[in-house]
């Protein structure tokens, strides 16, 4: 059943050829079988999943189901979920049972999409490998020596390994696209403001954006459809109805102008990754698209700007984890200072502390102008690069990450090299643009993703551009042998 596409699952459920309970139980069985090794879930919720599957079957029996009703889903553990432990990958929230649902979790409940559990992630979404999780690293289903990417590594791994048919993710600097690339799945980060941030634990608020992680672009269109839309509880939510993301699926891309930024193919890009990306670009030419050379001259400013702005926001966003009202509190605090100091020292991991310190530093009096304000200027320059590039093309394509998945432990002691793993994805978050990672082959036996970046609100077009490629390739259908 786990090899069916979402569309096939949906058809069978609607026709009552299969039940949601059977489907859900099938995934729960696979989780039991594989997850002890893979470690992609922080929490599995079998009772809730089956209860929701029963509701789904009742709805479907009555002919009242949505096309996703009854199809199980795994939520990244960054989304607050009522009555379920919501850890954000941190010891700080190891004991935190959320008193409410995030917007995207609410949606799952409304549609009776059984919640299988909460997926592993880098602590507070700070990382590119899922190794900084308090719950240990998730393995890459394609190669257990490799990381699955991050921070939505658990979500990418459950899709790749068939431990969930659909998964939610979030992307602050590449946290959907990079793990999607590393695990050979499809991931979309929509335009900033498309998916409500209500209930999504904040890392860097002006970058954070929820998105969909699936096998195919068509599936991503369906999932994103139910995640997107105006939410008055998030002031940065776009005040417009979400577009029909499936509407353009099937349209020809003949004459599509693909911008290929020279800066995305400079030194530092692994040759085998470049090979896979160039091959994919040729496939697009074969589909009638035209390759155009574009420039993103300020690409190299993006990572430094991001590592000023995101930690600045994080240092403030994470202040609420103080041991006073919920979450981890140190034993026997001797004073208020001691309570704060030890609760945060003991409850937060090294990478989180590093970013809080960087953030507090760049915001401090005397440094604010030199760091924070300057980084804001760079952010505008990076955004303007994209605006200019889109004057001559419809979509920008390139690599998602400079290398295929690296080995577990390879970069954990070298934060800067870890940060540079996101040099192609971060510019997109600075600009708030929609972007995808689409499976485009393998390098050294590990998956490689093709990066699609579109103008604001071009999700429907992007999804079709990915979909057209997936009509002539089968990278997105492949599964690692261990998990077939």
């Amino acid at each position: 059943m786990h090899t069916l596409s979402i569309k096939e699952m949906s058809d069978k459920l609607q026709k009552r050829e299969i039940t949601s309970v059977d489907l859900t139980q099938h995934y729960l069985n696979r989780i039991d079988q594989y997850d002890p090794t893979l470690n992609a879930y922080v929490t599995v919720t079998p009772e809730l999943a089956l209860e929701m599957a029963n509701q789904a079957d009742a709805l479907l029996d009555a002919g009242k189901g949505h096309r996703l009703t009854g199809i199980p889903i795994a939520h990244k553990d960054i989304f607050c979920s009522l009555g379920i432990k919501t850890t954000c990958g941190s010891k700080m929230l190891d004991n935190f049972i959320s008193p409410y649902d995030a917007k995207v979790v609410e949606m799952t409940r409304e549609l009776a999409m059984p919640i299988l559990g909460k997926t592993n992630m880098d602590e507070f979404a700070m990382g590119s490998s899922t190794e900084s999780s308090y719950y240990g690293a998730t393995l890459n289903p394609w190669d257990h020596q490799a990381v699955p990417g991050g921070s939505s590594g658990g979500a990418a791994a459950v899709i790749a390994a068939g431990l969930a048919p659909l998964a939610t993710g979030s992307d602050t600097g590449g946290s959907i696209r990079q793990p999607a690339s590393f695990c050979g799945i499809t991931g979309i980060k929509p335009t900033y403001g498309t998916v409500s941030r209500y209930g999504m634990i904040a890392y860097a608020s002006s970058f954070d954006q929820g998105g969909a992680m699936t096998r195919s672009a068509q599936e991503a269109a369906w999932l994103l459809q139910v995640m997107a839309g105006f939410d008055e509880r998030d002031s940065t939510s776009l005040e417009q109805d979400a577009a029909d993301f499936s509407q353009q699926l099937g349209q020809s891309i003949k004459g599509l102008k693909i911008g290929v930024p020279a800066e995305y193919f400079e030194s530092g890009l692994d040759a085998s990754v470049e090979q896979a990306v160039r091959t994919a670009l040729s496939e697009y030419e074969a589909l009638g698209a035209e390759l155009i050379s574009v420039n993103l001259p300020n690409k190299d400013l993006a990572v430094p700007a991001y590592y000023v702005l995101a930690p600045a926001e994080a240092s403030s966003n994470l202040s609420r984890f103080d041991g006073v009202r919920y979450g981890y509190r140190c034993d026997n605090p001797q004073s208020l200072e001691d309570l704060y100091h030890r609760s945060r020292s003991e409850g937060l991991g090294a990478e989180v502390k590093r970013r809080i310190m960087v953030g507090a530093y760049v915001l401090s009096a005397g440094y604010y102008d030199a760091y924070y304000l300057k980084a804001q200027k760079l952010r505008r320059m990076v955004r303007d690069d994209f605006t200019k590039a889109f004057e001559s093309c419809d979509v920008i394509m390139g690599p998602v990450a400079p290398t295929p998945a690296f080995n577990i432990g390879e970069k954990s002691d070298d934060p800067v090299s870890m940060y540079l793993a996101d040099l192609y994805t971060i510019p997109v978050n600075l600009a708030g643009l929609p972007a995808m990672s689409v499976p485009a082959g393998f390098a050294k036996g590990r998956p490689v993703g093709l990066h699609l970046i579109g103008p604001y609100h071009s999700e429907a077009a992007l999804l079709n551009i990915a979909h057209q490629y997936q009509q002539v390739t089968d990278w997105h259908c492949q599964m690692p042998a261990t998990y077939k």
């Binding site: 989304f79 607050c80 919501t86 954000c88 929230l93 935190f96 959320s98 008193p99 409410y100 995030a102 941030r197 209500y198 209930g199 999504m200 634990i201 904040a202 860097a204 608020s205 002006s206 008055e232 509880r233 998030d234 002031s235 940065t236 600045a312 926001e313 240092s315 403030s316 994470l318 202040s319 609420r320 984890f321 103080d322 006073v324 009202r325 919920y326 208020l336 704060y340 507090a360 915001l363 401090s364 009096a365 604010y368 924070y372």
Partner: protein, 477 residues
């Protein structure tokens, strides 16, 4: 050379909204702890602020009232610091781009001299919660009911040179925010809080180090606290010491200030724009609409009361002292067309009764229409001033309006000349000895006759008519 005192005030005015500035929690003073705090107020992960738009026009009204520039694109910033009653670890406030920008002026009058006090800015922010140190032995309780209450922080220039000026300014702002209806002004409940920055220096030299006097809940104590703080600083400097920058609390019982905490130099709030909130953009049309709806301000109203109603400056100031009093007074005048006697009644009998019962004029048992009805019966001679007080008390007790009470109690004044003449004749006829005495020069006997006539009329005879007739009859028997 003597010391010059330099004072600047930071006033926190709680805005009158139904719900908090960024959450839907209700605002009511004195509720059970944490019953008015929702998930956002508790600082739950993933919760996001949504601006309560009702605060914007209130802040703009204040800005317009003091003639300040309105921030056309104001921005909420985060002021980062750790404290248990600050659940998010930051206070959302406005730092670089406040809603009320520079240019504001408040005019005060002290000892007959007027002076303009500059207002640097006024910005919107959320209040913190409260720490309850006495509720649990050895522990501190946190009450987040107040967390997120909308405040307008009004920051003055260091333009005041005495405690009297500071209090005059604070009172003027207090009057203004209540006039505008944007703050209830209740100092006891903390709806209007005044922090005073006080320093001294020799004129012509840079300003001295300031101490901040916080959370003093009456104007009288503000004046006292500043006075003794000035004395304290003079004493320190004249004995060769240095004033430290710190926050000091005023102890009204001991009439002294004492150090609460030293503001360490390194106190760095790491302000930056809150990424969860959009800039507040105000169009000229919005400002125009608010301007058009602005109530008449206290100074203008006082001047109008003097010119339109020919009231004294004193009466005008009293009646314009609060919007509620002024509205009440104008409602009475509208029905009586008699400003002076209306003013006398509002300032006299009504105010006296309200004070005795500790009531505000909004809660007066005697409505403006009822008081006007009473005054009209005095004006048309139906009742005398003395009877009017009796009728007023009856209205106060809820016995109805003036006409009803006058009729029910039979209090109509007797003004019929024939009826009064009959009474006068009767009194004269029954007191021949006294008449003789009067006519023999005992003129003070006249009061006796008036008393007898009034008694015979059960107090209802028009006293002026009684006087006139008695004089006539006694002189020409």
């Amino acid at each position: 050379m003597t010391w010059e005192v330099v004072i600047g005030l930071e006033i926190h005015a709680q805005l009158t909204t139904k719900t908090k500035i960024f959450s839907g929690s209700p605002i009511a003073y004195g509720a059970e702890p944490n019953t008015q705090a929702n998930l956002l107020d508790l600082g739950m992960p993933g919760q996001l602020p949504v601006l309560n738009k009702a605060v914007i026009p209130k802040a703009i009204q204040f800005g317009l009232a003091i003639g300040a520039d309105i921030g056309r694109r104001s921005i909420f910033d985060r002021k980062n610091y750790f404290y248990p009653d600050l659940p998010k670890g930051y206070q959302t406030s406005q730092f670089s781009f406040p809603i009320v920008d520079k240019g504001g002026v408040v005019e005060i009058e002290v000892d007959g001299e007027t002076k303009k006090i500059g207002v640097t800015r006024a910005h919107l922010e959320e209040d913190a919660g409260k720490s309850l140190h006495d509720a649990f032995p050895g522990q501190t309780g946190i009450d987040l009911n107040r967390a997120g209450t909308p405040l307008l922080e009004i920051v003055s220039e260091p333009d005041m040179r005495s405690a009297k000026e500071a209090v005059a300014y604070a009172k003027k702002v207090h009057e203004l925010v209540q006039y505008l209806g944007i703050c209830d002004g209740n100092m006891q409940e903390g709806s209007f809080r005044v922090d005073s920055n006080v320093s001294i220096h020799k004129p012509g030299t840079p300003f001295g180090t300031r101490a901040e006097l916080k959370n003093i809940n009456s104007f009288k104590f503000i004046e006292q606290a500043i006075e003794i703080e000035i004395d304290r600083q003079i004493e320190i400097l004249e004995s060769g010491g240095k004033v430290v920058q710190e926050t000091r609390l005023y102890d009204a019982d001991k009439n002294e200030t004492r150090s609460m905490r030293e503001k360490e130099e390194a106190n760095d709030y790491r302000y930056f724009p809150c990424p969860d909130l959009l800039p507040v953009v105000v169009a000229q049309a919005d400002i125009d609409a608010i301007q058009a709806e602005m109530p008449e301000l206290p100074d203008a109203k006082r001047a109008r009361f003097v010119s339109q109603f020919e009231l004294s400056e004193y009466d005008a100031a009293f009646l314009a002292g609060s919007r509620a009093t002024a509205d009440y007074f104008e409602a009475v005048v509208a029905l009586t067309k008699a400003p002076k006697i209306s003013a006398n009644w509002v300032m006299g009998e009504l105010s006296k009764s309200l004070n005795q019962h500790d009531l505000t004029i909004d809660a007066s048992p005697v409505t403006a229409a009822q008081l006007a009805g009473l005054i009209n019966r005095i004006q048309d001679g139906t009742i005398s001033g003395k009877m009017a007080k009796q009728v007023f008390d009856a209205i106060w007790s809820g016995e109805g309006d003036a006409d009803t009470i006058i009729a029910a109690k039979g209090l109509q004044q007797i003004t019929d000349v024939g009826a009064i003449e009959a009474l006068v004749d009767e009194v004269i006829a029954n007191h021949t000895d006294q008449v003789t005495a009067y006519q023999n020069g005992q003129e003070k006997m006249f009061g006796f006759f008036v008393g007898q006539v009034m008694k015979a009329s059960k107090g209802q005879a028009n006293p002026a008519q009684v006087n006139q007739l008695l004089k006539q009859k006694l002189q020409n028997p």
